[in-house]
């Protein structure tokens, strides 16, 4: 059965349908969360909170977008609100990161270190840039889909993606 059918079943009172929906989408959501926070525990928490919010709000979901897009929107909104709280922490982290970056540049990096550096570089992007980059590169969504999920214009998606890639170029440089 399609997602929409399961949503309607849930709204009609068959709450077990939610289990099937979760089973279908949890992997994709989990890895999306992991790429945003680069930490398994935080990714798990983000997923849990998303599913809880989805469960509570599913009765009010009017199927105006796909169920998966709706789940991404919930996760992104929660991620944004928690990111705001962590902003100061991130700024402090960035200051320290520049110091460690310089140290790192002084030695030849192996593949694993490169990957770790890239993951950290993505993690430290501003939230909007990080989100659009993940939705584009890893979820392979179109600009239009991203604009709907992020509730922003297509032009804004384009600009944020461009900034994200430029920022990564600055951080990763020619090490790739």
């Amino acid at each position: 059965m399609e997602d929409d059918g399961l949503v309607l079943q849930f709204q009609a009172g068959k709450h077990q349908s939610f289990d099937i929906l979760v089973e279908r989408h949890k992997n994709r959501l989990y890895y999306f969360a992991l790429r945003l926070v680069n930490d398994h525990q935080e990714a798990e928490d983000l997923l849990q909170e998303t599913l809880i919010r989805a469960y509570r709000a599913l009765d009010r979901f009017r199927l105006e977008s796909s169920f998966s897009s709706w789940l991404f929107t919930i996760m992104i909104n929660h991620f944004r609100s928690t990111s705001r709280k962590k902003r100061l922490k991130i700024v402090m982290g960035n200051a320290l990161e520049h110091i460690t970056d310089k140290k790192r540049d002084q030695k030849i990096m192996d593949g694993n270190e490169m990957q770790e550096m890239a993951r950290q570089a993505i993690e430290q992007l501003p939230p909007k840039q990080k989100l659009v980059l993940n939705l584009k590169v890893y979820e392979q969504m179109s600009y239009r889909e991203i604009s709907q999920i992020m509730e922003m214009s297509v032009e804004s998606v384009k600009a944020n993606l461009s900034y994200a890639r430029k920022n990564l170029r600055k951080r990763l440089g020619d090490k790739i």
Partner: protein
Amino acid sequence: MECNVILDHLSAKLDGELSPLLDAMTDNHLMNCVECNKEWQALQKQEQFLQSLSWPETATSIPSRNKKQNIFRSLAFPAAVAATLAFVLIFPWLKQIAIPQNNIAKKKTTNDQKLTKTTPNLHVSTKETSMVNTTMKNL
């Protein structure tokens, strides 16, 4: 087109989101500008690297916790709070109902004692009141 304009379009070109006209204009510029072409090559390389990037997996890949269980566990707390609040709010109200009946019962008992000789039915009424009181106490 100027280089800075082209550089702004490279990301969208990478995603195939440029209009055919803009795409052709960008291609034309890239063929004639070494610096922008170098940036375009680097951006493509970076994109390939980003796509190949993996995130360390956990032992079970996916969170080991049971989602549904967690959802209901997290819903259980607000439900418990709501139930406690409801009890706290309703209990004084129940008491208010119970206390006047107690008072009535006491008054009636006094009156009944006076009236028992003439009106025996009132004695039954006192028993009913005390039964209600006992039920309230049990609540």
